[in-house]
């Protein structure tokens, strides 16, 4: 095919938007004399049907093979005109636009100058369009399955939604049970309904759903591939218990020599468990797990004469020979629902969390007020005979939130309301107790929040404005040093119990997920969404979505809503079955590539790899672009010293003529 450029230039008046300032006739006349230009026309609205028809007719009648449209921003109408070209049977990427509206007629009042600039922009577009190459938009199939990382309420909800839509879900949870943070909570604000009551049924559903494959006590080890075609490797850690045999009777835990001697993670260290354990009574799956770091037999190779759990297990489920297993599968979409960590209160040493037993965190109090908690639901200071019931109780909000000194500038969004809830519960459990809340601001922004805050205050909880600075002991009381900022009174408040309203933090192991999925973090270190407003569940990695507190602090309703959003985004992908990949992507001239790997390091998407090729008998390594992964930023091309990596439609040899025209034309 004779591909000698035959260019049509179309100058748009845009009503008077362009024509009022730019002399479109002069520009058209000028364009008609540029090399390789066969036709140059102007029209009142190029984007209108008649305007597009003009282009299509010329392509057919004049045999045009390149088109320049001088009109508005390509961000506005590039797709429109690409379609026009395609409809006329021309490759849509044979189009170049000259933005003579947003960046010319609208910003320069003076006609002569605007016209001069429009000419230049058209000339630059002509110089580039001659060198454009046809591009193919590729599509790939989507694997109709989803990986969900994290089995908290966000992961559970997303899994159920996708599974109910008829697609396969792989739900991977690091700990022995699904349920996440929500399972540790007693009541939920502002309705005060029981957390376990609403969560447990969903946990059970997840475990029994035919479309959901549940991996607990497992970790995602490797994710490769790209949107629609991710390959996943999951490590199922050895539980040393045959889950098929285990009946969850618990005899093993009772017999374990370490029974009641290991701090329970679920009870935030306030309760104790055995080395073989069920994290909490409603755990799903209700199967026991041996803590390999603690179990005497596993750590020392010896547990008395023989491990007592083995003797106790009637089902013969205990198997010390068990090894980690690797599961591999393919998915089309991934949802990250890895949740959060609570702020470590010992990072604010001025509050004496490490020193005083009666300085506790809100999560600890959550376990204390829970009927399934270590004290059976009574709020006590200390344990055993020394335990006492506090009368003077203070809550401190914003511990680890809105605080640059610990690197967390953000508001954790849940503390105001859980503090109100806990204050209410304490007041309920200890009638006559004096409860006060020290606060900077009360943010009761959600549905029913302000009403709840109002209720709690009216119940007699005192809200004192001032963020405490220091806690120390005087006699058997804790002294809170604080200023009441409403009255400008520095004061020392003596109390029995201090509850630190700890904030939410990104998980300490977030880095693993970032490396796994090439996610970014926002300034607050939570995972970065693709757009804060319009793409809040998407990420910069296509096919990877966010749900819940992994993206930022959230309460349960917001978490569930976002989980449903992430599920629906994944479903859009899965149900369409095909995904289009970028056309203006990078490619490598393997003949000149020197194999230095700069581009491999530069590519934010891991889309380039070094491969070994045979070059005239020699094994040499050269870069190669994975077309499905490349997003077409071109950073590799600018970093390639030998000019071997180029970006389609933005090749050096296509840009340099533009520079020549714009730089040289006076």
């Amino acid at each position: 095919m004779n591909n000698k450029p035959k260019i049509g230039v179309y100058v748009c008046h845009c009503g008077i938007n362009i024509a009022k300032t730019v002399d479109v006739n002069t520009v058209t006349e000028f364009a008609s004399h540029l090399p390789n230009v066969k036709v140059a026309r102007n029209y009142s609205y190029m984007c209108s049907d008649p305007g597009q028809l003009l282009i299509r007719e010329d392509i057919k009648n004049e045999g045009l093979n390149r088109v320049v449209v001088a009109s508005c921003s390509p961000r506005m109408h590039e797709l429109t005109f690409r379609k026009t070209l395609a409809e006329a049977g021309l490759n849509p990427y044979y189009l170049e636009m000259a933005n003579i509206r947003e960046q010319c007629s609208w910003v320069h009042e003076e006609g002569e100058r605007a016209t001069g600039k429009a000419k230049k922009l058209v000339a630059a577009a002509v110089s580039k369009v001659r060198l454009l190459e046809p591009l193919q938009e590729k599509e790939v199939d989507v694997e109709p399955a989803t990986l969900i990382i994290g089995g908290g309420i966000a992961g559970i909800q997303a899994a159920l939604d996708i599974a109910n839509a008829g697609f396969k879900v792989y739900l991977v949870e690091k700990t022995p049970s699904v349920g996440g943070r929500m399972s540790q909570l007693d009541k939920t604000f502002p309705t005060l309904d029981c957390s376990a009551c609403i969560l447990t049924p969903k946990m059970v559903d997840v475990a029994s759903h035919p479309n959901i494959e549940l991996f607990t006590y497992s970790q995602v080890e490797e994710v490769s591939g790209f949107v629609g075609n991710f390959q996943v490797k999951v490590r199922k850690k050895a539980r040393y218990v045959d889950v098929d045999k285990c009946t969850g009777c618990g005899a093993c835990a009772q017999e374990c020599r370490l029974s009641g001697r290991i701090p329970s993670e679920f009870d935030v260290g306030m309760g104790k468990r055995a080395a073989i354990y069920l994290p909490f009574p409603q755990a799903v799956p209700a199967k026991y797990t041996i803590d390999s770091q603690r179990c005497l037999f596993l750590t020392r190779g010896k547990c008395g004469k023989s491990p007592k759990c083995v003797d106790a297990c009637a089902a013969g489920a205990i198997n010390f020979e068990q090894k980690d297993e690797i599961a591999e599968f393919k998915v089309g979409a991934i949802i990250v629902a890895t949740g959060f960590d609570v702020f470590d209160a010992s990072r604010k040493p001025e509050y004496g969390y490490n020193d005083y037993v009666n300085v506790i965190t809100s999560l600890e109090l959550e376990r204390l007020v829970s009927a399934s908690g270590p004290t059976g639901g009574s709020v006590m200071i200390g344990t055993g005979e020394d335990a006492s019931v506090p009368r003077e109780i203070a809550f401190i909000k914003c511990v680890g939130s809105r605080d640059k000194s610990v690197g967390n500038e953000y508001c954790s969004r849940v503390c105001c309301m859980y503090t109100a809830k806990l204050a209410h519960l304490v007041e309920e459990k200890i009638p006559g107790a004096n409860v006060r809340v020290y606060y900077m601001d009360v943010r009761a922004f959600g549905k029913g929040f302000e009403e709840f805050y109002d209720r709690v205050r009216r119940e007699g909880i005192r809200y004192i404005r001032g963020n405490p600075s220091e806690i120390f002991k005087r006699g058997d009381k804790l002294v809170i040093k604080v200023e009441n900022t409403l009255t400008s009174t520095p004061m020392e408040d003596e109390v029995d119990l201090v509850v630190l309203g700890v904030g939410l933090e990104p998980r300490k192991d977030a880095r693993e997920i970032i490396d796994l999925l090439r996610l970014s973090q926002s300034a607050d270190r939570f995972f970065l969404e693709a757009h804060p407003k319009l793409a809040p569940v998407d990420t910069a990695t296509d096919g990877v979505f966010l749900a819940g507190c992994a993206q930022g602090p959230k309460d349960i309703p917001d978490t569930v809503a976002q989980a449903k959003g992430a599920a629906s985004s994944a479903l859009v992908l899965l149900s369409s079955g095909r995904v289009k990949v970028q056309a203006q992507i990078s490619f490598v001239n393997e003949a000149t590539c020197r194999g230095c790997g700069f581009c491999v390091e530069i590519c934010p998407y891991g889309a380039i790899e070094l491969v070994t090729v045979n070059r005239m008998g020699h094994q040499v390594s050269v870069a190669r672009v994975n077309e499905a992964l490349c997003k077409g930023c071109g950073a590799c091309a600018a970093g390639c010293l030998s000019g071997s990596v180029q970006q389609k439609s933005f090749m050096d040899r296509q840009i340099l003529p533009q520079i020549a025209v714009l730089g040289g034309m006076r």
């Binding site: 040493p349 809105r402 220091e470």
Partner: protein, 376 residues
């Protein structure tokens, strides 16, 4: 209004304040004076108020312990606002004569104690002291501190350091008579111009030595060199760092039994401001026979002795007992026989409090170097 005042909001980021009150809540002197540092941050936003604010006597109550800045969730430094207000006063010349004398003395003699430069090294008499030479390599360049150099009550600290260094065989050198005030207190008293000049001079002086580290004796010098001298070539450490190092490497042996109950008081400029908590405790822990006890308000929560912030030269009124007295009381309640510190100002204030309380029989206040020097 001068341009300096115009810049107050920007300079101290006053608009960043969210009025949480942590600064005032943490301020140790609120229990005995009217100082409410948050109010100053709040009020200083109104530029026209500055001159009036500067006239309030409370601005001289601040001990520059820095708790307000350490605690601020927004990274502000309320203490500097007070110093800025002091600066307005200093610029207008309305200051207490004692303050003026101290500043003039720094300008003329390089120390705030109105002592001649020429006798700065007199404490060395009779000691085998190595003096560092500009341009020559020295591992540890020792910076003495004006108070220790001139005040006979605390000169023993420096003397004992010489003893320790000589015994341990460490490569060190003192500066000698050319040593001049780090000007920590000049800054805290609000004399910005003099402070800047002293920073330049001292930087030049200290950089003229080919030293790997500058070892300060006073936490005030330590903190100032570390955070307010951006162009020092050598690393700045406190002597407790060095002493810990010496003990760890077993270059020094403490052989004598010392059957005392010791409580350590964290100096603000060492602890709160620079997170040096473990080194002094390590050193004390190496003393045979000694028992270490801790204050309730220790480490990050330590109580200020009120020695800093220019308080050595400022008289201000107060309601209650001095914090140093509170501290001494607490030590006594713990049954301590020795109140150990690592700062010359703390020594002076706590010793005064001890005497005022009449506890000299039961307890003693001593610098760590004083004790170690006695024991080796």
């Amino acid at each position: 209004m001068n341009t300096e005042m115009q810049g107050f909001i920007q300079k101290y980021d006053l608009l960043g304040c969210i009025q949480c009150g942590r600064c005032t809540g943490g301020c140790p002197v609120t229990v005995r004076t009217n100082l409410n540092v948050r109010r100053f941050v709040y009020d200083a936003i109104d530029q026209s108020m500055l001159d009036n604010l500067a006239k309030l006597p409370e601005i001289w109550d601040c001990t520059a312990c820095n708790t307000c800045a350490v605690r601020c969730p927004k990274g502000l430094k309320p203490v500097e606002v007070l110093i800025g207000l002091r600066n307005i006063l200093v610029e207008s010349g309305v200051i207490q004569p004692t303050v003026r004398d101290a500043l003039e003395s720094v300008f003329r003699e390089g120390n705030p104690w109105d002592k001649p430069r020429a006798i700065r090294s007199d404490w060395m008499q009779g000691l085998e002291v190595k003096i560092a030479e500009p341009g020559k390599k020295v591992e540890n360049l020792i910076f003495v501190c004006c108070t220790i150099a001139y005040d006979p009550k605390v000169q023993v600290i420096a003397k004992n350091l010489v003893k320790v260094l000589n015994k341990a065989g460490v490569d060190y050198g003192f500066i000698g008579d050319s040593e001049t005030c780090c000007s920590s207190e000049v800054h805290n008293l609000g004399e910005e111009g003099l402070f800047e000049m002293m920073v330049e001079d001292n930087t030049e002086l200290l950089n003229s030595y080919d030293a790997a580290r500058i070892v300060t004796i006073s936490p005030h010098c330590y903190s100032t060199y570390k955070s307010q001298y951006p162009n020092l070539k050598a690393k700045v450490i406190h002597y407790t760092h060095l002493l810990k190092e010496i003990l760890e490497e077993n270059k020094l042996e403490i052989t004598r039994e010392f059957p005392q109950k010791i409580v350590f008081h964290d100096p603000c400029f060492l602890g709160k401001q620079n997170n040096v908590f473990d080194e002094p405790r390590y050193i004390l822990g190496r003393i045979p026979g000694a028992e270490l006890v801790e204050f309730e308000r220790k480490r990050e929560r330590s109580l200020c002795c009120e020695g800093g912030g220019g308080k050595m030269w400022v008289e201000s009124e107060s309601r209650k007992e001095r914090l140093a007295e509170t501290r001494v009381n607490n030590a006594r309640e713990l049954g301590a026989t020795l109140l150990a510190v690592a700062c010359p100002f703390c020594i002076l204030t706590l010793d005064d409090a001890l005497k005022a309380k009449g506890f000299e029989e039961e307890m003693r206040v001593a610098e760590i170097l004083e004790i170690i020097g006695e024991l080796v």
